[in-house]
């Protein structure tokens, strides 16, 4: 080895040590295990977790290992062998993919540290410099570090307290929701999406489901309709949805956010097919026709029901999508952002139709991001918030007026901003509000028991 080689080798060793030291401190700042920085491969998984790109982190880890395998193979296989060429090709392919994935995970981490994307160039050129800076300098702090781990319960929200308030309600009518938690396993780790959602919705209610992005609105909807089962008990008019899912799925109508229907089919055929799929066999042809007509009438589609779905306006398409569920006369009707893409007047008309549906004795739960233009139509408001452990929790359930009083805000949008994180331009008071509501519920429960 000549002097230049020695210098290069020395630089390699020193930079590797510095990089590892920096990473160790970054991991500790982010409440991860520092020693993971010592393990090649695993360190990129950890960076992925920090940057919210766990899946990419795992891929980067696997590619790192594969890369090491192919590199070793090229060291031992004779150069004249065909397998040497194959191993080299594989090594280069894996290295390229690994580089892309490392860039992705590091970009995620930069976002967590609220840093500009251009830092990636320094990371590629000399990763030990940014690693040391982010790890040791107090100037660089990660964003959105919660006070709680995601499997930790917030004080005051134990299910027992809330259950006390609800279990005493003997009514079999309406929707009774007791979600203990909704947990998923992501790459071998537990992750809670929802915890402690307990509420009772009477029949004939139009319910507004509010919450910021990632608060768990769709997760709660899926948990309620039994599509993605949670650790929960969901009773609809006295019947357990989970235990009787095969039967109950026909009694629940779910209208997704997008207009999921065949655009090149005719409106009447779309509704008729929906009726055939969702209605019991015992419903006669005449009765089905009658339902079809009444659905078209209820949704204000009379005179517009001819022709292809694709030719209809946004509002009409949305009503057809609603009609596909309404035609089966569901007891529980859930709509995920039915007004997305609709202007104010059309959206208002749509919610007025939903009000009519609720008035016919059904429970209608609707998610919307523009609630104030229709807030007066709702009987109840469910506010979900993502706590600092990134778990969706119940921040409020009650009438719109009670919500305004509880949050001390005059509009629904301001209410959502109260619990939204600061990243989303909110006030970041989710933890405080969740605890406040838990205390309120506990007090109500205690009063009811007394």
């Amino acid at each position: 080895m000549n002097t230049l080689d020695w210098i290069y080798a020395g630089y390699e060793i020193v930079s590797a040590v510095l990089f590892t030291a920096g990473l160790w401190m970054i991991f500790r700042k982010c409440r991860r295990k520092g020693w993971h920085a010592l393990v090649p491969g695993l360190r990129y998984y950890e960076i992925g977790v920090i940057g919210g790109r766990e899946s990419d982190g795992i891929k980067a880890m696997v590619l790192d290992l594969l890369s090491a395998v192919f590199k070793t193979a090229t060291d031992y296989i004779p150069q004249e062998s065909t397998f040497y060429g194959l191993a080299m090709i594989a090594y280069l392919m894996v290295q390229t993919a690994a580089l892309v994935l490392r860039i992705r995970v590091v970009m995620g981490m930069l976002r967590t540290f609220r840093l500009k994307k251009r830092w990636i160039f320094l990371w590629i050129a000399a990763n030990w410099i940014p690693s040391l800076l982010f790890g040791f300098s107090k100037k660089y702090q990660p964003l959105d570090l919660g006070l709680y781990d995601d499997d930790e319960l917030l004080a005051g929200t134990s299910p027992a307290l809330i259950d006390g308030a609800i279990d005493d309600d003997p009514s079999d009518d309406g929707l009774v929701v007791h979600v203990q938690n909704r947990m998923i396993r992501s790459h071998g780790r537990k992750r809670y999406l929802l915890k402690d959602i307990n509420l009772t919705v009477p029949n004939g209610s139009l319910v507004l489901l509010l919450g910021g992005s990632g608060a768990g609105k769709t997760t709660l909807i899926n948990a309620i309709n039994g599509y993605e089962k949670a650790k929960a008990s969901i009773m609809l008019n006295g019947t357990d949805i989970y235990r009787n899912y095969k039967k109950m799925k026909y009694r629940i109508g779910y209208v997704p956010q997008q207009d999921l229907m065949r655009m090149n089919d005719s409106v009447m055929a779309t509704l008729n097919d929906a009726a055939l799929l969702r209605l019991p066999k015992s419903v006669s042809r005449a009765e089905r026709k009658e339902r079809l007509e009444s659905t078209v009438e209820t949704l204000g589609l009379s005179g517009r029901a001819n022709g292809l779905v694709v030719k209809k306006s946004g509002g009409q398409k949305k009503r057809i999508s609603i009609g596909m569920e309404l035609i089966a006369d569901p007891e529980l009707f859930i709509l995920d952002e039915p007004d997305s893409g609709l202007d104010g007047v059309i959206a208002r008309e749509l919610f007025e139709k939903l009000r009519l549906i609720a008035d016919s004795g059904r429970i209608v739960i609707a998610v919307t991001h523009t609630p104030d233009r229709v807030a007066d139509l709702f009987d109840k408001v469910i506010v979900l918030a993502r706590d600092s452990g990134k778990v969706g929790r119940l921040a409020f359930y009650g009438s719109p007026d009670e919500a305004r009083e509880f949050f001390e805000r005059d509009t629904m949008e301001k209410i959502v901003m109260t619990v939204n994180s600061k990243n989303e331009g909110g006030e970041g008071r989710a933890d405080e509000i969740i605890e406040k509501y838990a205390k309120l519920t506990a007090e109500r429960g205690a009063a009811a028991n007394a």
């Binding site: 229907m261 065949r262 090149n264 929906a274 799929l277 066999k281 015992s282």
Partner: protein
């Protein structure tokens, strides 16, 4: 005790979906696959010429080209049909739709499309001047036997694409995968490139191999004269060795004695292949493999689609 409500079962739902597909055929321009089949059939038969079923080379080229047309048609019939409406299927599945019914409806609908496309191609071949042999090995009618083979190739390719369409999440991914599948099918058919060693075993997994074998067997490839050998000899007539021109002498001898037809016929025997044996067992064997593939692909599509609820939103 409340009466237990019964909802429409798999057979009734198959009918609902079949009706939907027929409407899509009309409204969503799915009918365009039929004129497209005619167009591609016309182009290929134009290139094939009229030597099909006359010489081994003509039969091989023609059968290979028709196999390609069938695979092409089959693939493009269904490569996008599931992935383009995946979220809709997911919605319907959660409302009580059976995936088996959905796939069964597609199988029936695609079968009708494939039959129509086969009929179109055969008609075009007829008008292009290809003379079909009169008797067939299985049914007695060549057209029926040849049509069944072409239909099975098209339908197997169709079901393969249906399975791919069930795997991929969107049409972009489907159209990215498609060329690789087509290339694999054509290269590993064994018709275009002579494969040896492990690559030869791979051919057993292609629709094109079994399709080509059945078409060549039905076309009585092994009994036909081979012209390529004579053409090659004719090209190298001037070749000299030790002041002599043995190839020229040989070809002149054949022509002078009016032995050309005999030579072409005899050289055809050297080009005969066991896989193209014009026997009922061979053809039925090929058909069975294609039917097995159809069943496996349809089954795969069903199983894969049963997990549609796991799709992320």
């Amino acid at each position: 005790m409340p009466k237990k409500l019964k909802y429409r079962g798999r057979i009734a739902q198959t009918g609902i979906y079949f009706g939907k597909l027929i409407r899509m055929f009309v409204y969503q321009n799915d009918w365009k696959v039929l004129p497209m089949a005619a167009l591609i059939g016309g182009l290929v038969t134009f290139a094939v010429g009229t030597n099909m079923f006359v010489t081994q080379e003509g039969t091989m080229n023609g059968c290979f080209a028709l196999t390609c047309v069938c695979v092409w048609n089959g693939c493009f019939n269904s490569i996008q049909v599931i992935c383009r409406e995946r979220p809709i299927i997911k919605r319907e599945h959660r409302s009580g739709a059976h995936i088996t019914s959905y796939i069964a409806a597609h199988m029936i609908y695609q079968m009708l499309l494939c039959i129509a496309q086969t009929a179109i191609i055969l008609t075009i071949c007829h008008f292009a001047g290809i003379k079909y042999p009169e008797t067939g090995l299985i049914s007695g009618s060549f057209i029926i036997d040849f049509g069944i083979s072409m239909f099975l190739i098209t339908y197997a390719a169709d079901m393969m694409s249906l399975a791919i369409s069930a795997v991929v999440k969107n049409t972009t991914a489907a159209m990215t995968v498609m060329p690789f599948i087509l290339m694999f099918q054509l290269i590993f058919s064994g018709g275009l490139i002579i494969l040896t060693g492990p690559a030869e075993n791979v051919t057993n997994f292609t629709i094109t191999k079994w399709g080509l074998n059945s078409l060549c067997a039905l076309g009585d490839f092994n009994s036909q004269p081979m012209v390529s050998l004579w053409n090659t000899l004719w090209q190298v007539r001037p070749y000299e060795i030790g002041g002599l021109q043995p190839v020229k002498e040989f070809t002149d001898y054949i022509r002078k004695n009016n032995m050309l037809d005999q030579f072409l016929q005899d050289s055809g025997a050297y080009g005969a292949k066991e896989a193209f044996a014009s026997t009922m067992d061979n053809v039925i064997g090929c058909w069975m493999v294609l039917i097995l593939m159809i069943i496996l692909f349809a089954l795969s599509a069903t199983i894969i689609l049963e997990f549609i609820d796991r799709d992320k939103r």
